[in-house]
């Protein structure tokens, strides 16, 4: 039964996003625009661009994922449906996990699909782009899961938007390090397996620990 509410919450968020299609595309548009600024800032030398590409892509993905966080629970909080979900007999943990899944499908997945385009813009090699994709597939769910804790903690606060960034960004640093590090090690001819394994470990840890934390944060914020 609790698995059912997980899928229902995610499906509901996807349907809601489908009714506001352009809004749902905003994170990925931000991702591409922000990353395109870097060549203009640091200069168009392919050598430099290739070197900074993994870091730029990861930092922009991080910021894009954070930008859409404050809407994660906000509209449900305003119209009272979040309160009904918490009052229901379904597990709050599953509700929080479903929300995080919806956030990843709406933000993380488009970023993963758009990242190869940026890889080409930054003159990355095919092997580096593949590694970056693998890292993003493992890493972006962690961002959504950690972000759901921050979004639940800052529910309904005046300064919510900037506050989420301050709360969640420091916690995301390991993801950034291993995600960008995987591409960097491929670039110098080493195997990326170590970095990707650690990203996988972070994902498993976040999968187990983040939904209960987000659920507890929701209970704190709504009580």
């Amino acid at each position: 039964m609790s698995g059912g509410v997980f899928m229902l919450v995610a499906a509901r968020d996807l349907r809601l996003a489908g009714r506001r299609r352009f809004e749902a595309l905003l994170p990925v548009v931000f991702f591409i625009v922000a990353a395109s600024l870097f060549p203009l800032g640091v200069g168009p030398e392919p050598q430099v661009l290739r070197q900074i590409a993994p870091g730029v892509v990861w930092v922009c993905a991080l910021l894009a994922a954070m930008l859409s966080l404050n809407t994660l629970f906000a509209s449900d909080h305003q119209d009272g449906s979040l309160e009904q979900m918490l009052l229901s007999r379904h597990s709050t943990i599953m509700v929080a996990a479903g929300k995080a899944l919806a956030h990843w499908l709406l933000t993380g997945l488009p970023l993963i699909l758009a990242a190869p385009v940026l890889g080409v813009l930054f003159d990355m090699r095919a092997s580096s782009i593949l590694t970056m994709e693998a890292g993003l597939i493992l890493g972006t769910p962690v961002l959504s899961l950690l972000g759901s804790i921050g979004a639940a903690l800052t529910l309904g606060l005046r300064s919510g938007g900037v506050l989420i960034l301050l709360l969640v960004l420091p916690l995301c640093i390991p993801v950034l390090i291993f995600g960008a590090g995987a591409v960097g090690s491929v670039d110098v001819g080493l195997s990326a397996a170590g970095h990707l394994s650690l990203l996988g470990a972070l994902l498993l840890l976040a999968l187990v620990a983040a939904p209960p934390a987000a659920a507890a944060a929701l209970r704190i914020s709504m009580s």
């Binding site: 804790i149 903690l153 420091p170 916690l171 390090i177 934390a213």
Partner: protein
């Protein structure tokens, strides 16, 4: 009072207020006394370092500050979570009072580290694992303070802060090891800070004295801040009203 002191006797804000009021002058005395002794020993007794000259003397402030910054985060997280789990109001107040002191020590450690780095390595800042982790620790403190300050409801602020501090405390080792690994892969800093030369006994003693001074200072200032928070939150309570009336009478 003839009642015996039990484990939770001083968890009552009024008794804590009385006890901390009694302890405060002694804590300040200890902080100032140990700091003077430590600074005297550090600056006048301890020998000049063979390789670093006199610039190394900043460690008598730097190292204890770095220790305090890390210990205080764990203490803060511990009290915050205890206050959340056991619904102990005073524990939550202490957690809140700890955050600014912890952030101050983190900043002090970074600042004195920069002052030490300039003459020793010729640069204010290197992206060394320890420096980077300390910087991230400062971000964690700032996040905690920003969160509890921006929630108006006291209970919610305490509990939300506790959850954040707990998540942060779990993350600190992960962040430390990822930064350490990132650093060794990048070969950023060429100077090894782990290869500390053997320290003279006077240097160690001066550092220990300064550590005791910083502990006493932390207790004193956290008690003062907690007392202010107690008065603010308990202003409806009879004992605070009585206290205010007594103070007003003394002023007259």
């Amino acid at each position: 009072m003839s009642r015996s002191i039990r484990l939770f006797t001083f968890a009552a804000p009024s008794r804590f207020f009385a006890l901390s009021g009694f302890l405060l002058p002694w804590l300040w005395l200890a902080a100032i006394g140990f700091a003077l002794a430590g600074l005297y020993m550090g600056f006048f007794v301890a020998p000049t370092d063979a390789t670093q000259g006199d610039s190394y003397r900043i460690i008598f402030v730097h190292v204890p500050a770095a220790w305090m910054s890390m210990v205080l985060y764990l203490v803060m997280a511990g009290w915050a979570v205890f206050g959340w789990a056991a619904n102990a109001r005073l524990a939550s107040m202490v957690a809140r009072a700890l955050a600014p002191t912890g952030a101050m020590f983190t900043f002090l450690a970074l600042w004195t580290g920069a002052l030490w780095g300039k003459p020793t390595w010729g640069t204010w800042w290197v992206w060394d694992a320890r420096l980077t982790s300390e910087l991230i620790l400062l971000f964690l403190y700032l996040g905690y303070m920003a969160l509890v300050e921006s929630i108006d409801d006291v209970r919610r602020a305490d509990h939300a802060g506790a959850l954040l501090a707990l998540v942060g405390a779990i993350n600190v080792p992960i962040i430390y090891f990822s930064v350490k690994w990132w650093n060794t892969l990048h070969q950023g800093a060429t100077i090894s800070m782990t290869a500390a030369p053997k320290m003279a006994a006077t240097m160690l003693n001066a550092m220990l004295l300064m550590t005791i001074a910083f502990w006493a200072y932390s207790f004193a200032v956290v008690f003062m801040r907690t007392r202010a928070i107690v008065l603010e939150r308990e202003r409806q309570a009879q004992w605070v009203i009585d206290l205010a009336a007594r103070e007003a009478k003394e002023v007259k």
